[in-house]
Amino acid sequence: MSGEPALGAAAVPGGIPEREIPAGQGRRLHPLTPWRRAWAPLAGLFAVMVQNVEELRRWTSSVALGWLLLSLALFLACAGLYGFLSWRVTRFLVTDTELRIRTGLLFRRSAHLRLDRIQSIDVSRPLLARLLGVAKLRMEVVGSRSADELAFLGENEARDLRAELLARAAGIAPEAAPNAGEAPALALHEVDPKTLAWSLVLRGRTWAFLVPGAALIPVVWLTTNNLVAALLVLLPLIAANWRASVGSYLTLYGWTVSESPDGLRLDHGLLQRDHATVPPGRVQCVRLVEPLLWRPRGWVRVELDVAGTRSGNREGLLLPVASRAEAAALLGRVLPDVDIAAALAAIRPAPERARWAMPVWRTGYGHAATPTLFVARRGRLRRVHELVPHAKVQSVRLTQGPRARLLRLADVHVDHGADGTATARLLDAGYAADEVAAQANRSRLGRRSAAPDRWLTGP
């Protein structure tokens, strides 16, 4: 099954034609995988049955039980066969430069992921998978719209494969890569459960569904005179609320950030354990988010934008909650040669006359440029700082509308590689024009000193 020889680079040279997995080579996924695959047709059948309950009952009453059981068994066998075959045709192979995945029973799909373009590698273990000892490996590569995943692998296999991919991506000698093993990690920060709980309590999203729910109950009760109806209305609201509060707590529980030569490691989750690795130099943009009620306590949430798709389950989160000093210290590791405190202190607020363009919210806007960072601030209640390293800037734009021109104001947009834009709004027009010219210069110089893609090979 998955016991075929793991093909290291040693076996590769000469034998492999460019861009294909030769027959009889490559590794397979964990043998438990077909059961997940078989699940899809079964779910489809179930959905069809639910939709046609009436017809189904008429039909079953006319058909003998024996035939029914037989057809069900036949269907199960087909589903099992489908699962088995699709598992059989799925293979992956690690070469010097690529991870090749070939899959698809009817529609063949083969993906070649360039290792030096890997933006992050996640190992995810849902509760059931944890019990069975398997794990899912997700990789994000620049340019591919959806994250590619290998599901499922044995837990140890997933860990070794992740280490190998990262080792190769880092530029460790190919012969040594398969045995490079897990790079040692140094824990930098762990979010303690009490702070996490309080931060969720003080977050607006936790309560967003409760307040309208509480208002809705008396209304429904009074109009229908029926308490049960009122509680029924509340049910979906409670579900949404549960997901925003307890669900978040379970996902974010035990959030640990550690540093290793492979980059930053993020481990979290109470029931479902998730693990993500962000190789160094991949961070395109950092966001510091301060919700209104967190600000008296000096808490911030730190989000990262990494090129490729944003990981769905963690919203690009680096830290769910931390004090400003802790966040600054941690960011110092993510973005080397960056002084966050100095960058934030250098922010110039929007000029006074901008109140004619944006009356109340003007004070939220601000901008700073340090030798390494472009900083934009926005938001009056929920304050957001966006930090983009100059080396990651793809293009710079200056825009000015008619009203802004009357007020001699302009906006500067900085597009970065994670398909996002940081915008410094309401700048003085002259300053903005100088800033665009200077920004183009800075990002050119910043790129020159940027670390190479294969981070252990040296510049």
């Binding site: 793809q394 834009t421 024009a433 190479p452």
Partner: protein, 168 residues
Amino acid sequence: MHMDEVAAQPPPGTSGDTWRPVMPGLLTMRRLVLVSCLTPPALLAAVLPLLLGAPAWSLLALVPLTAGVWGWWALGRNWRSWCYQERDDDLLIRRGVLWQQLTVVPYGRMQLVEVTSGPLERRFGLARLQLHTAAAATDASVPGLAPAEAERLRDRLTELGEARSAGL
């Protein structure tokens, strides 16, 4: 025309280099499209009431006519605002009159340089240059270039892009 003067000035901080305009053919093409879109409704609005015996309604033809005159002028203004400049390390593109935009794309960041030319554009001897970076928000295209100029730019930008290429 105050706006025109503003649009014609080079933005501060970039003076001294040459801004290149786009081809006059672009303006001719856009005006032709405008006229051919507005002539049928104008004619219809003018002639139909006369035939139906209600000549006062012919005044409705003034609506497309006014729109045409305004569009003629606005297209001219907009065409004058388009210009681009090749510097040592980046390409600048400026456009817009009411909503002005200046885009700076460093050569090393270009992932793909495209030259496209539709049937109408080919008829007028025009081509469009489109630059792609890793950020989709980068909206850098120059319409209305002479095909030879577009190809020269494409080759030069590709060459410079390779020379100054950087990872993400």
